[in-house]
């Protein structure tokens, strides 16, 4: 249901009048946009090793647990992480590699589960789109290996598999990684937190309180 056409027109007319001396034509606008000076740092300067070290350091500052592994040992690392969690029921994205679904646990593949059905699950395992070392951020674009947004939101424990080759140093480098803008994205920089009570940072309001990251050294 579109709002009365006159409000839309009224607002756009007001805006047009307000900016008539400065607004640009489409071609001029493209040029003006391109002419914006961007002298901020876009590209990182760290070596691969230093970048990964920084990513791990930042994750641990948020009390996220990080373990490194190799592609060969990934499956067994996942299994041991799940075992160490003390949890038994996990939900998984529909495209998660089958061998990541370690035996001995109750798995539910999410092919459109309702929130009520997801709520009882203790944990979730996903891949990721990118890691940003500067801020220890994990980015999910919610592809088939990363899952719908709800499954990384309701369970209290999230195991995220991040490949070293997915880690960039700076936020602008993440944008360079996006061949086209994502329709859905969630940037996670630590478990949820609040500082609303006397500025004391408390972890774990809503969203998973426990974040575990497996960093796969697919670069070596």
């Amino acid at each position: 249901m579109i709002a009365p056409a006159n409000s839309r027109q009224q607002i756009l007319d007001r805006i047009r009048t307000a900016t008539q001396s400065v607004a640009k034509t489409p071609t001029e606008l493209r040029d003006s946009y391109d002419a914006i000076i961007r002298n901020y740092v876009r590209h990182g300067s760290l070596s691969v090793e230093a970048r990964l070290e920084l990513m791990i350091k930042r994750l641990r500052e948020y009390d996220a647990e990080v373990v490194e592994t190799t592609p060969q040992e990934l499956v067994s690392t996942i299994a041991s992480q799940l075992a160490a969690s003390g949890k038994h029921t996990f939900v998984a994205p529909s495209g998660l590699p089958a061998d990541w679904l370690a035996l001995g646990f109750n798995w539910e593949i999410d092919r459109g589960l309702s929130s009520a059905k997801i709520e009882p699950f203790e944990g979730v395992v996903t891949a990721a789109f990118c890691g940003i070392a500067d801020s220890g951020t994990i980015v999910l674009h919610h592809s088939a290996t990363e899952g719908r947004r709800v499954i990384t939101l309701l369970p209290d424990w999230h195991l995220c598999i991040l490949r070293a080759s997915q880690v960039v140093e700076t936020l602008p480098e993440y944008f360079d990684r996006c061949q086209h803008p994502p329709t859905l994205a969630t940037h996670i920089s630590g478990p949820s937190a609040t500082a609303d009570i006397e500025m004391t940072r408390i972890k774990g309001v809503h969203g998973p309180r426990f974040l575990h990251v497996v960093l796969v050294r697919d670069d070596i």
Binding site: M1, I2, A3, S7, R8, Q10, I11, L12, R14, I15, R16, T17, A18, T19, S21, A23, K24, P26, L29, Y33, I36, I37, R38, N39, Y40, V41, R42, G112, S115, A116, I132, S135, T137, H142, R148, R149, V150, L153, L171, P172, F175, P181, T183, L184, A185, T186, H187, I188, S189, S192, A193, T194, D196, I197, E198, M199, T200, V205, H206, G207
Partner: protein
């Protein structure tokens, strides 16, 4: 005390008392001032560390200012682009010329959903249009889900800061509110325990209430996407679990391209909460089948913004990304807290935004609620020259006063008009100095100091002495010296 002094707080600019008056309860409340100072000190220290660490901070600010300025100067183009892209992705875009229309649009959407309850992500824009009481009167209860907003909603208090709205509330006050309103008799005042109580209180609401209302930190024209920046995860809950999502956003929130977020996000987190990045940033585009709300509406709000846009000297006000760094830096805000500003937008940004949204008809005392120290401009991530806008708005308020009869009874007005005549001619200035010396001499004690003055002068001598005017001023000394030399 249980309720957070609601009787004393009025955040409606149309009826709120003038700033000097509204500030008094806070100035007289050491506990409140201590809470505010503590909160501010924490954020400022964190921000300062991270800004020092970010070697390209000034370059980011420059680019952000340029991006926001371009967006505002071409707002029509970018809003239409946003609308087209959002609609193509399955969203519905509505346009609200003013607060009343925005409320009506939202109510109509909620009625369509047969909603009697709605969950909300914190949005100052919804407070600006006074949405919650309006919905309440229409039989729809809006549950705030941000911890600070819950504290205020349950405690019937009012926000005093745009990022940390309950910074004026301490833990024992929170404990008391939660214990009473959530029925938790044995609740401790440990912040962890309080936070757990909030988590539990909200969980069922997130899972069962099918309609949500949010604001937007950024609207992306290129993609038709909306971005919400948060810490607690209640935002993610609200924008993922319900069936219907309504996003209310001021028209100024638009950015040209997705990539512009690479600048804004770096500045926002450091400025707002002193973090390299806030815990959760969400971005969504229209409707994604099978993932999240299947009905999505954006309500674009004007409510005075296009009027601000039309004034070149004031347009920069709309660059604001609501980080609140200005109020954290402000030495006035530090003493008065947010309620004194009589608006949901307090602090330096509030002092310029509020009167402008009111078309200068209300909140006329706010542009004067500043010593023009410039600390706000120094920290503003998008380089809004707040002092410059304050001075411009003061000129507008004065021009309004020039048309009133009451100006002849305003000693400050008369004094400044006379001073202007005096400064126009050296002989008038010198004469006025002599008269001043004689006049003030009547109030000067033997120690050479003035302890008490009438009228406007009395506002000075309330708390400060004034040294009496010297026998010989500088130009008289110079002239005498010249004479001697000859």
């Amino acid at each position: 005390m249980s309720r957070i002094a609601p009787d004393l707080v009025n955040l409606d600019p149309r009826t709120a008392p003038p700033f000097p008056q509204a500030a008094l309860p806070m100035l007289r409340n050491p506990q409140l001032r201590k809470n505010v100072a503590h909160a501010i000190n924490v954020i400022q220290a964190k921000r300062a560390n991270l800004v020092a660490e970010k070697t390209d901070w000034q370059e980011l600010r420059s680019s952000a200012a340029a991006i926001r300025t371009l967006a505002l100067e071409n707002l029509g183009t970018y809003l239409e682009q946003f609308e087209a892209n959002c609609s193509a992705a399955g969203g519905t875009v509505h346009w609200a010329a003013d607060a009343a229309e925005a409320r009506q649009i939202i109510l109509a959407l909620l009625r369509q959903e047969n909603a009697s309850e709605v969950i909300k992500i914190k949005t100052m824009t919804s407070a600006e249009i006074q949405l919650n009481p309006f919905l309440e009167a229409a039989g729809i209860h809006a549950y705030e889900t941000d911890l600070a907003e819950i504290i205020l909603q349950l405690g019937e208090g009012e926000p005093s800061h745009i990022v940390v709205p309950a910074l004026h509330v301490n833990r024992s006050q929170v404990r008391e509110i939660f214990a009473r309103r959530m029925g938790l008799k044995d609740l401790s005042d440990d912040p962890q325990a309080l936070t757990n109580a909030a988590r539990h209180y909200l969980r069922q609401k997130f899972l069962t209430i099918p309609t949500a209302i949010s604001g937007a930190n950024f609207l992306c024209a290129e993609t038709g996407s909306v971005s919400v920046v948060e810490s607690e995860g209640n935002g993610r809950m609200c924008l993922t679990l319900p069936r219907t999502m309504i996003t209310l956003a001021g028209i100024e929130k638009v950015l040209p391209r997705f990539q512009d977020l690479e600048v804004m996000l770096q500045l926002l987190a450091r400025s707002a909460t002193g973090e390299r990045m806030n815990p959760y940033t969400s971005l969504w585009t229209g409707v994604t089948p099978g993932d999240g709300p299947q009905r999505f509406h954006v309500v674009l709000l004007d409510n005075g913004r296009s009027s601000i846009l039309s004034k070149p000297k004031q347009r920069q006000t709309l660059k604001c990304i609501r980080c609140a760094a200005c109020m954290n830096a402000c030495p006035v805000y530090r003493q008065t807290g947010g309620h004194a500003y009589g608006s949901v937008y307090p602090g330096p940004i509030g002092a310029i935004l509020t009167p402008q949204l009111m078309q200068m008809q209300h909140a006329q005392s706010l542009p004067y609620a500043s010593s023009l120290c410039g600390a706000c401009y120094e920290v503003c991530p998008v380089k809004i020259n707040i002092p410059e806008v304050l001075i411009e708005l003061r000129a507008q308020v004065t021009d309004i006063e020039r048309k009133t009869l009451s100006r002849f009874f305003d000693p400050m007005y008369l004094g400044l008009r006379i001073a202007n005549l005096i400064f126009a001619r050296a002989w008038a200035f010198h004469l006025a100095q002599r008269f001043g010396r004689i006049g003030l001499g009547l109030f000067t004690h033997k120690d050479g100091w003035i302890h008490s003055l009438p009228s406007v002068g009395g506002k000075w001598t309330q708390t400060r002495d004034l040294r009496g005017l010297p026998e010989q001023n500088f130009h008289e000394w110079w002239a005498a010296r010249r004479k001697e030399e000859k």
